[in-house]
Amino acid sequence: MLVPCLVVFALFIVWPLGKSVSLSLHGSDLFGRPDAYVGLQHYKDMLGSAEFRHILWVTFAFVLLTVIPGVLGGLVVVLLLEQHIKGIRIFRTAFALPFAFSVASASVIFATIYNPAIGLANGLLGRFGIDRIGWLTDPSWALISVAITTVWMSIGYNVLVLSAGIGAIPTEINEAATLDGAGGFRASRYITIPLLGPQLFFLIVISTIQSLQGFGQIKILTPEGGPEQSTKTLVYSIYHTAFANNASDFGAASAQAIVLLVILLACTAIQFGVLERRVHYK
């Protein structure tokens, strides 16, 4: 009964994992097929290149620009939801709606909104007398615009996880706080937020992992990795190195894929490491 799963995992996860390592140690011909063994050459090239440092920097900036606003935004919404019980279900559904949007549909909608000439974003800015912004064409804006789209896609999930966390806080704690005269902001600051520690931590790790894997929104909004490569993250670079018209370098792309794997495994390890020591305040 385990056989179907085992076959799929072996063929499409375990074996490719080994193959990725092996590809990263080989050169590749015009069609991307591996040829001569080159040892650690791809890794040396990568670590020595200014372009790769730029890619890592963009990846890191993208993580910061998505994780911090996404988690903080979710937290603010949930704390407000907690205090306005009226119509709470409508709000819950409203914040769940972005789940229905695939990365492609969300990106295409935002591409329409960001359209430099006829898009809504510049249209609204114009109404307030603000100059047009090259949302996706200005190197200093492109990554931010892609990050806004990503935050929009993730905020619903963050709200969901945090409200599940709030639901698990015993009501006596809040009652005791109210009796002691701590209401509203003080209750949030000293009781709710600390008790949401595990959920906040989980969201930070999960959002970081998802952000590191972000691809569709970058590919659709900024097809060439952005103006001046300003949105070229690690995952986009893997795709670009392997599949761009004149590159097809599966060896170098695999070396980048291994770097991505190591970074993501490190994130997971941190998650488990901290969970072991527990972020709970019980």
């Binding site: 590809l23 709000f91 409203a94 769940a96 329409t112 609204l124 695999s254």
Partner: protein, 271 residues
Amino acid sequence: MVLIGAALLVIFPVYYVIAGSVMSPGQISSYPPDLFPHGFFTGNYKGATSSGTPIGQQYLNSVLQTSIITLSQLITSVLAAYAFVFMKMWGRTLLFGLFLATLMVPWESIVLPNYLTITSWELGGHGLTKTYAGTMIALVLPFLANAFGVFLLRQSFLQFPVELRDAATIDGAGHWRFLSRILLPLNKPALMAVGLYVFLSAWNQFFWPLLIGDSASRRTLQIGISQLNDAEAADPGLILAGVTLSILPTLAIVIFGQRFIVRGLTAGAIR
């Protein structure tokens, strides 16, 4: 107030995609921008379904691809979860740990070898991605099983009362009979949670379908709407009509299946 503002900000793109899809080309690109449609302009839908991007065919492709993946993951997950809970075998815990470990491998770091493998296979003398059937196989093959479904169903099966299981055995029910007549009917919510979750993620896939499929008519809908976006950039209403069509199934799932989805999505958060 802040809450209403935040909710409006989150809902706005949802509103805009639908409102924009029924605005005439003149209205949607008017300046200053107009947020409320004047009447119901159907030309965008006609345009989206008859443009150079065959989204009707792509819709069918996506339905087929998503159905195969969902059905297959349900079956493979039920079988594996059953084995992990109800069958005594050597190394069961270790094997389950290995299953979970597969969830830590990011798809992006194994996509290249998978691409090389699948495009090197043949079906009836042609490369796999050169025919319709072959493309469909290539689209679904790596996703026929996933440890997440196994994990969720195992959790659910573990809560199954031992007494009921024993009673069924005493009545002479074998593994298959117990599984199909007693266990599955009693675990419908968990099956729904897994099914809807898998459906959503399969329908929304982007990276793999982008690599697989040589011609527009063999593409999935997600790739279709992104190509619509490139090809019809001057006609935002038409693009938004295409996007609206593409989100109908998932919108229905999120609105009507919310409680099941929540269960699947938060499974990782509350351990």
